[in-house]
Symmetry: C2
Subunit: 449 residues, 2 copies
Amino acid sequence: MQSFELDKTDFSRIKNALNSDNASLQAVLSEYHASEIAILFERLSDEDRQRIINLLSVEIASEVISEMHEETHPEELLLMLHPDKRTEIVEELDYDDAADIIAQLEVEEQQELLDDLSEDDASNIRNLLSYQEDTAGGLMNTEFIRINLNLTKKDAIDEIIRQSEEMEEFYTIYVIDDANIFQGIVSLKDLLKAKGNVNISELVKAEVAWVSPDTDQEEVARLISQYNITSIPVLAEDMRLLGRVTFDDVIDVLEDENTEDILKISGVSEDEELSGNWREAVKSRLPWLIINLATAFLASAVVRFYEPTLAKIAVLTAYMTIIAGMGGNAATQALAVTVRRISLYDLTDHQAYRTVLKEFTVGMINGAATGLIVLVFSLIFDSNPLMGLVIFLAMTGNLVVAGIAGAAIPLLLKRVGIDPAIASSIIITTFTDIFGFFLLLGLASRLLL
Amino acid sequence: MQSFELDKTDFSRIKNALNSDNASLQAVLSEYHASEIAILFERLSDEDRQRIINLLSVEIASEVISEMHEETHPEELLLMLHPDKRTEIVEELDYDDAADIIAQLEVEEQQELLDDLSEDDASNIRNLLSYQEDTAGGLMNTEFIRINLNLTKKDAIDEIIRQSEEMEEFYTIYVIDDANIFQGIVSLKDLLKAKGNVNISELVKAEVAWVSPDTDQEEVARLISQYNITSIPVLAEDMRLLGRVTFDDVIDVLEDENTEDILKISGVSEDEELSGNWREAVKSRLPWLIINLATAFLASAVVRFYEPTLAKIAVLTAYMTIIAGMGGNAATQALAVTVRRISLYDLTDHQAYRTVLKEFTVGMINGAATGLIVLVFSLIFDSNPLMGLVIFLAMTGNLVVAGIAGAAIPLLLKRVGIDPAIASSIIITTFTDIFGFFLLLGLASRLLL
């Protein structure tokens, strides 16, 4: 919707307002949703962010902070604020949001910040900090509606209203027994329909998906998306209800996973910040390039091995680059399709076999098609049919190998429990380089010398 | 959660059950959630799918059909069923799910299927079929809770209960006036808290995000994720309430977009079905390979141009492959990071400039680092310092260009309104090939001859 897309005019309005007095700045800010201000922050200086946060009500300020993208570093903004303001904001935050932000700080900074909080808040946040960031425990929110199995409809509704005071939005009503053991959920619809004297235990739906605190976030996302549920309960080993993960956390997880997949498959460490500085980028990419260099030396060793052939038939060098390049690209294509397919479906051995077979066929056809083009080109310029044949065979052979490697390597990695995306284009392409050189130069020295 | 992950035993249980009588098959099926059966279908033959659907209650059967992944072709399964059974199932489906599935059929098949439905259902589905699949109209569901602005609390709750009968789950209560013009939403919490005589008009929240039927699905996803809302209303130009898009549709959209991005950046047409056959794969990939071949000819032309140099210094051929390969990979890294960053944030001109500058620096450092390694290698094997220098300069220069190209090309595409992911590794890598060859062989012929 145009009307909800922040555009240049919004940014310039804020910029102008920042040059005028607080009153008019406040007036402009009041027209934006907290999540919109969070986006505007991406383009503002720390000073401006600080000034705006100080002008906003604690409610809005904390919402802005919680909506700020991890890469815009809300934790640093918090540190800049006056300790009292900071404490107000943190106590206003949902525990899970507070924990996520505080987790980014140094341990001493965390201590300092937590010591200013109420005992209750501090311990709740400390508790959440103890979970891995990429697990259900790390994602879960500990504020949600929980009612006792033995309440009557009337008491239950009163209880729901009372508990919902503290939270903006509740999605699911969880049912527990006196020992806080999870019993299931009750649909608000059923509750409203029920007669006044009915007991919650008669309405509870016990058959629901749940996760434990150490469940991986991808699995949490899979379950929420598979069962189309707005939130999923997080249970301790003794089935005590610890918290819930909501659909909006899962949407964020999916965005992050998307980023990781694309980076990994392109030979970038998944933890490189997209907006990170050059130091982080070098740290994340140089290792991969050095791995690639090692394999590239292998490829060049093949070339050195066939130097005599190349010396006699210099034009082979030109075709060498074409065939190697095409192989690399065909392999990247097969890799992308296979990696993505693995991450969406879990394939049977038979399906895995069929996938490799398919890529073999595709490589054969695409190799023959492009090989034919190069063959014609060679006949015209080199007027040597045998040369044309060698090139055609090398192209076809290399694209077949590219297809098989692009499909088989990620499938094998998956089989042995390694993330298939690690079979990045970097690895695959040098693999096809080596083979392409072997094929072309080997055939050439057999047939052309 | 282990307990919710379908594993081999589940599949073999179904397989065995399929070999026994219907009664025991039904017994086994009854233990699985519809969405789980949909996943099991991915591995079953059409015959088995058909048999299972016929054994399930209409409610479950329609849920299974609606949960089947597009690529497992629920529409084909529908066609195989007995017309009466099929009609029962389609009438049980949510309109949006029915429309999505029917949209996959031939026009005649659509007609035939729709003619069997009740007038009301048929017209509702026809209406949804008229929207583009990747727009809010294509995603929206037309069944949701809508109450009149002038109802009292008591009547509103009765109305909500009445309307919620037909739907499994309602997320948001939409408020309309007598002319079905959208007025806003009312939170169930506020409604329950309100006094009995209060009027909905006093509780309605008018300031909510909305979309129109032709809003792109990515924009819908962005809004739902930005405002953390379970559903977003779809409004006609006159603000009539047409439908709503829910968070679970958005989760599916994100998965699809993720697939598209990875395929595009790897030089595969976004519409290639991951589990498609080899014909589709060839159709989707061969054009890209031919584009690549054209550019590869350019690269090889550079090589041909420098043939004399290569003839004199054969070893250059080996280094050529290393430098070109490294350049291609460095470019792919820069490309992946930039493309992903563009799709998550919209960058200011200044930020775009900074991005290119960063990739320049990264290329410089990674180029110098890897160039140094090759330099040392060359000093040992070629014992020619000048040769080492040429290789070092070529590697550094090529990785600098790779970084600039990998960042600048997608940014420019975005600026002119083209999907940045089109700047696939295919285009980028041949670009760096050409430049790498020029740099190495050009320098060599200047400094080494």
